[in-house]
Symmetry: C2
Subunit: 121 residues, 2 copies
């Protein structure tokens, strides 16, 4: 068992997973990797099905783990912006891989995601 920060890991893969596991984290990160606009509601719009509670919760955790950073654009009307940190960006190849794998898989099943992307909005 590898020990770090009062947690135990069975192997390096387990270490990596501890940052990105859960139903939403990878999805949030991979969207932050792609889209330009990064406000709270931009993210919500791009993650069909996520509740505000979940989004807020996950963003908080990702920030704590230093995968993303939040900048407060203005306080009076409260506006924020989220972006990947360097650590967050270091997961980039993972998101690319998962996206590509999914696209290839779907194609094998007769679904052309790229061509029909507009249908899935």
């Amino acid at each position: 068992m590898i020990k770090w920060n009062n947690k135990e890991f069975t192997c390096p893969v387990d270490v990596s997973l501890s940052f990105i596991s859960g139903k939403w984290k990878i999805l949030i990160l991979s969207h932050l990797c792609q889209i330009e606009k990064k406000g709270f509601s931009d993210l919500r719009e791009n993650l069909p099905g996520i509740s505000e509670k979940m989004l807020s919760q996950q963003l908080k955790q990702l920030e704590k783990d230093q995968l993303i950073s939040k900048s407060v654009l203005s306080l009076k009307p409260y506006r924020v912006e989220y972006s990947l940190t360097d650590t967050g960006k270091s997961f980039g190849p993972l998101f690319t891989f998962l996206s590509q794998w999914g696209i290839t898989f779907l194609k094998r099943k007769g679904i052309d995601y790229i061509k029909d992307q507009h249908l899935y909005k």
Copy 2:
């Protein structure tokens, strides 16, 4: 929303994740990617903390999803062997990435996994 097999996915990444999410699946697959011996108890030994119930349950799901295949070596004394299918192998780069990411992360935190691997058994 992308639909396939009565399930809904928000994007291709979501499709990929549906095969490998959960506490144990990636760990099981990445071990099958590395070790030669692949019996039930070989796996159990290499996945500290997993219960037989969980291992059996996850193996069943992975087999159903066609990421692994099971060959029954003998019936009288019941012996089996698990291995990655081609689909399972296609996740290879993912396991490599996650392992490497973890190793790099640990090194930054002053833990040299490669050098001290024997300590973590």
